[in-house]
Point group: C2
Chain length 306, copies 2
């Protein structure tokens, strides 16, 4: 069971190295992360894009491409199509965004012929290791789905449980978060949270323990949970694994609060795709990019086994 990114990186080294297809790879920060992921045997990259620029950057960062497959596609859209097709066809296990805008990248993910759609909604999970918290936290959805419906939230829980399982966490605790811990008919989020809890109790949402609506303190702070009235009746007492946000504003604001105010490590992937997709951005550190690749690798391995 992984409790940290160090654990996840160890996990990755115990599985056959996964192949990583990078769309429009001629992006220095991305190539730096990919080079280090390769060196640490986290992934074997296939770099698709403007070959001349790719090789130039590789030289700049002392990235030896002698045993790296480079596919020349100078056109951005074509590079994305070619790169995603590799994953679609099983030649690569994971798909990563290079020097292209998110829209074009996502369009390639959703490409009907060579993309990675499953017919279900896409979603996003950000895995955090935060100083002061003993477990990994799986935050969703902080970056992709603006206003998940109740059905979306059920789907998101199922995806995130898979990601938890991939990290060796069985029967994760899922906290549908809100400002309050009781159902208030004037607060739809709390009603949805209670419904998700009910579906879990009835066996419709499986392989996890859902307990909501839950406030942040009951979700992540065992000390706070000790002192809170009614906490003894809850299934989650400061030990949530998955934090499910009411909407993307709450999710993104909490995510950025942690990133800018706490000591942490994180890695993120898209969910709901045929294979893991890494959609990191310029504001993500190299370490985050590498952690995301590692997370994608364990998820890819887990998806193949089930």
């Amino acid at each position: 069971m992984s409790e940290s990114f160090e654990d996840i990186l160890k996990q990755v080294n115990e599985i056959p190295t996964k192949k990583l297809s990078v769309a429009n790879a001629q992006d220095l920060p991305v190539m730096e992360a990919v080079a280090e992921a390769k060196a640490k045997k986290i992934a074997d990259p296939i770099l698709v894009g403007d070959e001349e620029k790719i090789r130039e950057i590789a030289k700049q960062i002392a990235f030896d491409l002698s045993d790296v497959r480079v596919i020349n596609e100078p056109d951005m859209q074509q590079a994305a199509t070619t790169a995603v097709k590799l994953v679609h066809d099983g030649e690569a296990d994971m798909y990563m965004k290079g020097a292209l805008d998110s829209k074009t990248f996502l369009r390639s993910v959703l490409n009907k012929d060579v993309g990675l759609r499953t017919g279900k909604t896409l979603s996003h999970v950000c895995v955090f290791e935060i100083k002061g918290i003993k477990r990994l936290l799986f935050l969703t959805d902080v970056a992709f789905l603006p206003y998940p419906t109740l059905e979306d939230k059920e789907q998101i829980i199922n995806y995130t449980v898979d990601v938890c399982n991939a990290c060796g966490i069985e029967n994760p605790k899922v906290a549908p978060l809100a400002a309050v811990e009781v159902v208030n008919p004037k607060m739809p989020v709390t009603v949805e949270a209670a419904q998700l809890t009910k579906w879990n109790e009835e066996g419709r949402i499986k392989n996890c323990i859902v307990d909501g609506p839950l406030s942040m303190d009951l979700a992540i702070d065992p000390e706070a949970a000790k002192h809170k009235a009614g906490a003894e009746n809850r299934k989650i007492v400061g030990d949530a694994d998955v934090l499910l946000f009411p909407d993307i504003h709450a999710g993104n604001l909490v995510y950025k609060t942690i990133v800018h105010l706490c000591e942490f490590k994180n890695g993120c992937i898209l969910m709901g795709t045929k294979a893991p997709v890494i959609l990191t951005s310029r504001s993500d550190s190299k370490e985050t990019k590498i952690n995301s690749i590692a997370l994608a690798a364990v998820v890819a391995h887990h998806q193949h086994r089930i």
Copy 2:
């Protein structure tokens, strides 16, 4: 200009000591905070409630009541009514919750005859001093108004600007927060944020600089603001004073994330009342209670002067 609670406490010592009316004061943690506030000349308390229990607790915590006014009202509701009336009548400057539930306390605040209503909506501000951030942050609304309308948000901005002014911060920067920094018609929060910004530019919302929608990183992190595309066109570049949340879920979840994961100090008051109201709870530390009293004191002083 206050940049920390230490500054606010110094400010308080430079103004005539304000009188603090406590409803149902026989609450040990509240009395501990009030005793320390009195010792530090932050406030002069008037304790309304069950006198026998009040004196018992005072003895327990070595709180000398010889120069403290104690009003005997053993009935909880009556204690609240009597306590709020003191503020209503100008015999006290601030109103604090003791050993009674929030509902009863708020009912006394809203009492038509002896309460503190202004006819406008009530709201809540939580002032934070966070390690790593050089300025005080004014978070609103994280605890009271669930789904502020656009008009409510305009009102909240006006209240919070007053509180900033009371802390010596002129022309504060107000960030209507969201997951994104551009208007997206599918995200009503961003449309509202842009409208608030427009109202500020047109002079309808005064004495502050409103810039939204804004993400959390642009709001509080100058480093992040340096690297973000388009940041050069923004009025807020990591130096927001006021963080205005989309709704109470986003606000409360961020607030609790800070409380449970960061090194911080904070103090909170209700806004939209004739005089400052302190609505702290058992989960608030003694220091937070004292900071709240200090905040209420500078706000009360400021309200009298304008």
